[in-house]
Amino acid sequence: MSPAPILSVDHVGVRFGGLTAIADLHFDVHPGEIVSLIGPNGAGKTTAFNVMTGFLKPSQGQVRFRGTSLQGLKPHEIVRLGLSRTFQRTSVFPDDTVFDNVMIGLHRRGRSRLVDTLLGRDRAGEADLRARARDLLDTVGLSARAQDKAGALAYGEQRLVGVALALATEPAMLLLDEPVSGMNASETQVFVRLIRSIRDRGVTILLVEHDMPMVMEVSDRIVVLNYGRLIAEGPPAAIRADPAVIEAYLGQGSAARDAARAARETSDA
């Protein structure tokens, strides 16, 4: 009944040698949604992001974005289709100013050809890029930091630079990898508003996050991973009450973990 998904993760599996990072992941994200991908450490969330953005090749299955298979595409080609991401740790170009970071991020918007560049004929294009960079810094609230070195910013501010960089590619969908880790409660609140405002501009959002209150507050829908396998999917209220999810987060050697391991072993055999 729902409209065509913007992103389909279609039975994706990732194995490194004998290790299974993702067993069999299958879910859709629909346009305009804010979806969170959660799960305990090592559940395969970042691996899933890396598959969606072309940094890793899946051992099985494929990802489709706006109906196009991403199979075999390189990261920079996937960005050009409108699927952008942020990184968990290193989200900036550390030796450049915040402003120049965004200018680097606007690479795709620049249209100038090499010949024009070498002859100095791309002044107008550069002025347009600078204006756009100022807009983006304004959007994420970093205008005051424009001339500071990105590597010298506080951790939370670096995440914002990462978001500005991702927005610079004019994505239809944004993947955020633990965007609020390292932020305090008030910074997180500000960030939640930022995510909503981005969505209100028509950008679909999928995020990986450990901060449960934040996830519960911002998400329309939550997908729960454990041991490389989807164990639950639904709106926040349902997820909060789901026994399998509770087991996954609380249990060491719990039923969910055993079940997941058993399932993985049978699928590997």
């Binding site: 990261p75 920079h76 200018m103 680097i104 690479h107 090499l114 994420v140």
Partner: protein, 343 residues
């Protein structure tokens, strides 16, 4: 314009320098060869400094440029595979220069496509290997290159201006200004390039490759572009070298020249526009200063020590070091404002 002020001041000084020196052939010769190697160092800086790829085979492009230009202007008569005979009649030196630029650009493309498949130690070793293979070809393809006997009698450049007739650039002074013109052009091209979106893409790849990919920068394309431009400039420098010295042998491919260029770049300040020029002038002319007091072996020991000491005390090089010292553009850091979202 103010940001180009130091460069313009340096250019003015270099234009005036021969007037101050008088006609001192030994010094002028040192300045010309220094200038030529400095152009090569500037081109190396494009890779080493701006894209962060430590290419240690750069001398290959310089040498190929020298040989292509020399052979174009000397002509040759060789037999290649299958008994096919290739005869080339001498062309003007200026055509040699253009062909040197084109051929080295093509070599830069091929080497780039091949070697940018790997990074780090692999990349460094592959670039060195490429230079060695080229040196061995120059040494062994005697029919074409005369091998260790050297190519001699290479004609100097001639300058033809419509209505003014032609001049053969025989004097040191003329060659000095030729090198200065080519060097200035290369500087301007590099400045344009690194200030553009292509230059920003290079910096992005250097600082954080994954992030650069994720904003849509095509790594292979960007790095190969840098390699092509860099190789073409090194080829131009090689052509200047061949037509100035008028004799070249396979020693133009020596690894030690690459090391000299690397010292110029990292000593002067890699990834800065002026760094390789400042470094080039210092380390190109250092042997002139050291020659009266020490033998060449000892001079080389000094070079080696300098390379080590730079990494310990001034890893970013002289130009960034000076810039920090003066810090004339640095205002106190703005007070951090609370993060805020505007709707």
């Amino acid at each position: 314009m103010t940001r180009h002020l130091p460069a313009l001041a340096l250019l003015a000084a270099l234009v005036a320098l021969p007037l101050a020196l008088g006609n001192e052939p030994y010094l002028l010769n040192a300045l010309i060869t220094t200038g030529i190697v400095t152009i090569a160092a500037m081109s190396l800086n494009l890779l080493l400094g701006f894209t962060g790829q430590l290419s240690l085979g750069h001398i290959a492009f310089f040498g190929i440029g020298a040989y292509v230009s020399a052979l174009t202007s000397l002509g040759f008569d060789i037999e290649i595979v299958g008994g096919l005979r290739v005869v080339h009649a001498p062309w003007p030196a200026a055509v040699g220069f253009l062909l040197a630029v084109l051929v080295t650009a093509a070599c830069g493309y091929l080497v780039g496509r091949l070697s940018f498949r790997v990074r780090g130690a692999y990349f460094v070793i592959v670039t060195i290997s490429f230079a060695e293979v080229v040196r061995l070809v120059a040494l062994n393809w005697v029919e074409l290159t005369q091998g260790p006997l050297a190519l001699t009698g290479i004609p100097p450049f001639t300058l033809g201006l419509p209505g003014l007739g032609t001049t053969v650039l025989r004097t040191k002074l003329q060659n000095y200004y030729l090198v200065l013109v080519v060097g200035t052009l290369c500087y301007a091209l590099i400045a344009r390039l690194v200030g553009s979106r292509f230059g920003r893409a290079m910096r992005g790849l250097k600082e954080n490759e994954s992030l650069a990919l994720s904003v849509g920068i095509d790594a292979t394309r960007t790095l190969t572009l840098a390699a092509v431009i860099s190789a073409a400039m090194a080829g131009a420098a090689g052509s200047l070298y061949a037509h100035y010295l008028r004799i070249i042998d396979p020693d133009v491919f020596l690894f030690s020249t690459t090391v000299t260029m690397v010292i110029m770049v990292v000593g002067g300040g890699k990834g800065t526009l002026l760094g390789p020029i400042v470094g080039g002038l210092i380390f190109g002319l250092l042997p002139v200063a050291l020659r009266p007091v020490m033998v060449p072996e000892a001079q080389w020991m000094v070079f080696g020590l300098v390379l080590i000491v730079i990494q310990f005390v001034m890893p970013r090089g002289i130009v960034p070091g000076l810039a920090r010292l003066f810090a004339w553009r640095r205002a106190p850091a703005p007070v951090p404002l609370p993060v805020e979202v505007r709707s």
